[in-house]
């Protein structure tokens, strides 16, 4: 594959060029003995626990951003979704939709990062597909990912189990992915040192799995950020959630960027954080377990309380505000 080669329509036709793409780009970077069989699907070994399936589409723009790219994001995001379901991630499938003219060198870099991320998360990419759309009909590359995991015994993760008195734990500072991608889009006109927090939450999730039933539910606050995630939990639990904004771990450059853009870090996307609802008696130990697992700034940020499903936040000024459900992508504003 020469450096200046680009994706042609025929790369998606299933013929010789598709095979060359698989042999020269995909297999060397994340091949394994199941994927190498190149069947129409992957025959998987039996699981002791219940199987869990998740699926996600990745269209992030720009494709490369500080702290990651669309490839590592696809692996981490899918792995994290499985972890949030209380499952040990096992296998992934990745389907690419490539645009005619997409540089093969970029595809190779993305597949390198897929390989590293999959190895890091201890998962195998076992099946996949590649389609090519005409130039102008796509945005370079989209990735549709699916993941299968094995449910950990003794866990019953369901936001409906959250009840008044339960503690809300957050594994680290919010808004890093959202600001990193926004900064990458703006180029020199607006630069931040913020890098995406995109990573697999294996250690954090496993640290909490050990608490069994005391762990009510777990979620990764991706699109819509922490506030949207908390609203989903409140609605499912039919209860109010009260948090203290001062207790939410902060990353100063994220806050500074959000101030300048008139945006709120609590609504900015995260790709490497988790929110856990914990039984009150287990919360301190869970928070300590998160920290021991490497989430150095993990904190209890609030609790589920009696009341109608809303999320209330005590503001740093000492007042209180409602964290409403997001009505659309956060937009930078001047007034």
């Amino acid at each position: 594959m020469t450096p200046d080669e680009v994706i042609l329509l025929s790369h998606g036709a299933g013929g010789k060029l598709t095979a060359r793409l698989i042999d020269s780009v995909f297999l060397p970077r994340y091949g394994n003995e199941i994927l190498r069989r190149l069947g129409d699907g992957a025959v998987l070994p039996p699981l002791a626990g219940d199987p869990v399936l998740t699926t996600d589409a990745y269209v992030v723009s720009p494709r490369f951003f500080p702290g990651g790219d669309i490839g590592s994001l696809a692996v981490h995001g899918t792995v994290n979704d499985l972890l949030m379901c209380g499952a040990e991630p096992r296998w992934l499938s990745l389907a690419f939709v490539l645009e005619e003219g997409f540089p093969c060198e970029e595809l190779a870099r993305i597949c390198d990062s897929i390989g590293r991320a999959a190895a890091g998360a201890g998962v195998l990419v076992v099946t996949g597909d590649t389609k090519v759309v005409e130039r102008g009909r796509g945005d370079g590359i989209y990735i549709a990912a699916a993941g299968v995991g094995e449910r950990v015994r003794g866990l019953e993760l369901d936001p409906r189990r959250a009840r008044p008195g339960d503690a809300i734990l957050l594994s680290g500072p919010v808004g890093q992915h959202g600001v990193a991608v926004l900064g990458a889009r703006r180029g020199l006109a607006f630069t931040t040192p913020v890098i995406s927090d995109s990573r697999a939450l294996l250690r954090e999730a496993r640290a909490l799995f050990a608490f069994g039933g005391a762990l009510r539910t777990m979620h990764d606050p991706t699109r819509g950020g922490l506030a949207t995630c908390l609203n989903e939990i409140a609605r499912a639990a039919g209860a109010r959630i009260a948090i203290d904004e001062d207790a939410v771990p902060r990353d100063p450059p994220v806050e500074q960027a959000c101030e300048l853009l008139g945006m709120d870090p609590l609504y900015m996307a995260n790709e490497g954080k988790l929110v856990a609802v914990a039984a009150p008696e287990a919360a301190p130990a869970m928070c300590a377990a998160l920290r021991a697992a490497g989430a150095a700034e993990a904190a209890c940020i609030g609790a589920v309380v009696e009341g109608s499903p809303l999320v209330a936040a005590a503001s740093p000024a000492g007042g209180e505000r409602i964290l409403d459900v997001l009505t659309g992508d956060p937009l930078p504003r001047i007034c």
Partner: protein, 77 residues
């Protein structure tokens, strides 16, 4: 009706400048002001510096706020 922030001037080239709020940096136009220097703080709105922040007034306002936090009998240090 106007989100604007005090930002530290880190570079000046003609009527353009680079400014920072903490670790976040931005390019701005300085054409609405005169003789802005590196190290100044300027009020930035929509990519333009609208005014140079008056450090003396900022300190005075903070001093007045500080005075409010101390009980009357003890004069401000």
């Amino acid at each position: 009706m106007c989100v604007a922030f005090p930002m530290r001037v880190t570079a000046v080239t003609g009527d353009r400048g680079r400014v920072a709020l903490g670790d976040v940096e931005q390019e701005v136009s300085l054409e609405l002001l005169d003789n802005v220097a590196v190290g100044d703080y300027v009020i930035v709105h929509a990519g333009f510096a609208l005014q140079t922040l008056d450090r003396g007034e900022a300190a005075e306002t903070l001093a007045m706020l500080g005075a409010l936090t101390r009980p009357e009998e003890e004069p401000a240090p």
